[in-house]
Amino acid sequence: MLSNSTATQTVVCRSNKVREARDMDCNEVKELLSAYHDDELASDIRMVVAAHLAGCDVCSQELAGFGELSAIARSLSDPIPPARIWQELETQLAGSTIDGGTPRKSMIWMNWTRTPIARIAWAAAAGILISVVWFSLPGKDEHHDEHQMAAVFGEYLEQFRIDPNAAQQILLANYEGRAVGPEQVVQSVGYRPLVAEGLPPGYSVVSTHVMKMPCCTCVHCQCRRSDGSTIAVFEHDDKEVEWFGDRAATETVCGDTRCSVFQLNDRIAATWQRGSRHITVIGLRDARELDQLVEWFGGDRHAEPM
């Protein structure tokens, strides 16, 4: 509900209904038009919008257009799911561990291999194997490093949306991650990490690790929002868009700071320069949260072109 809109509060405090309607202009009404159409407005605001609509052909026509769309959408045909979806699902379920269920004895090994712990173990084993192969290869170059980091990071990003803690373990297992306090961070990387200076209200640091990545020694902080959800903050020496593999980067400006933004399903990641170092945040909800963190950490207004 949008009952706390400042503009609306101003309007509803007045007693003259005609004047209320005039006080809400087309832009304000258009912003509320979907909520009006979907009956998601508080009754007082609804009345004000209705009064505006009664005297405004432009807004009324747009509302009518929304109504037509809804009518067509309601009448769309329902596609019929094929029966084989369940059949194939049943086959897959027979070989997997179900939360709350009892695994079949013959499937214990297979089930174990699909548990989160096993996945982390597999990821660690895969990381070790990749490392062994990597160091045994002659003529290795930066391209191989980037490829390997993109692979590990790809797995990390995939896991992050499901279980950020399990995702964190993938990185720690691959890059010799160790939990550290502020002083140990300084000893390891030569600077005091930005998160040690505090986070915006509503965020807290859960853990801080130092990781030895092929690109650099990186500080990784797992942070929690007040609603319990997680973001990850990395502080590192160089810009590391390679972490995101072949994901398309969108260049944007937050305040005066240039940021590279990556779409991660329903979340975003962003990286920007701050002084001589770079900040990368995983798990942002939207551009507004990105703006907030860029402002909080402080961007580099004099950063060289990215």
């Binding site: 038009l33 979907s34 909520a35 959408a73 309601r74 009448s75 897959q92 269920g101 909800r285």
Partner: protein, 197 residues
């Protein structure tokens, strides 16, 4: 799970198509499922698969919707123990469905560079509005997948703004503005597709 008022064709009706609207009984089945009841798992699937498939078809396309639906339920059953009942089970499942569908598009590199190819349903639309329905399907396939998802959750699945926010994992205050964008883009696309409008 379905909140639609339209009725599927009679020939396709059956027990599998029965979409439960009784939240309490669905919660009981989900609870049984959490305790490892295989029959309950099937009941959950029967209750919800139409809605998940319908959403998947319109986000990723008919050809890919089977795989996405299968993955959604696989993920749901594997993690059903983590469903804590704070939201409706249907909303939790919609969240998985939207996540999986958008992830599927991204994996297939159709996220930013390519609009979804419009694929007609198996059964063509009938009646005087047939053309308008087909145009809407085409317009839907041409807008941003996230806007498409939010529009479908509202207009087809009939979720409230609170439920949409939960399913899309976005602030409730942004649902209305994103729906505004979705509706305006759809109207523009419809206008482009049918200049006579």
């Amino acid at each position: 799970m379905s909140r639609r008022t339209t009725t599927p064709p009679a020939s396709k009706q059956g027990s599998e198509e029965t979409c439960r609207s009784d939240t309490e009984s669905l919660n009981e089945v989900v609870a049984a499922c959490q305790h490892g009841d295989d029959a309950a798992r099937r009941q959950v699937y029967d209750a919800c698969h139409y809605s998940v498939f319908r959403l998947a078809v319109r986000i990723v396309g008919l050809q890919e919707a089977d795989d996405v639906t299968q993955q959604v339920f696989l993920q749901a059953f594997r993690s059903i123990g983590s469903f804590n009942g704070c939201s409706r089970f249907e909303t939790w499942l919609y969240r998985l469905a939207v996540n999986e569908s958008l992830q599927h598009l991204r994996r297939n590199r159709r996220w930013r560079y390519q609009t979804l190819d419009w694929e007609p349903m198996e059964e063509p639309h009938h009646g005087v509005d047939a053309e308008r329905k087909e145009l809407l399907e085409q317009a839907l396939a041409r807008i941003d997948p996230e806007l498409r998802s939010i529009f479908l959750l509202r207009e087809v699945e009939k979720l409230s703004y609170h439920e949409i926010a939960d399913a899309m994992q976005i602030p409730e205050g942004t649902v209305g503005s994103r729906l505004n964008r979705a509706r305006r883009e759809l109207r523009q696309r419809l206008s482009d597709l049918d200049p006579d409008e």
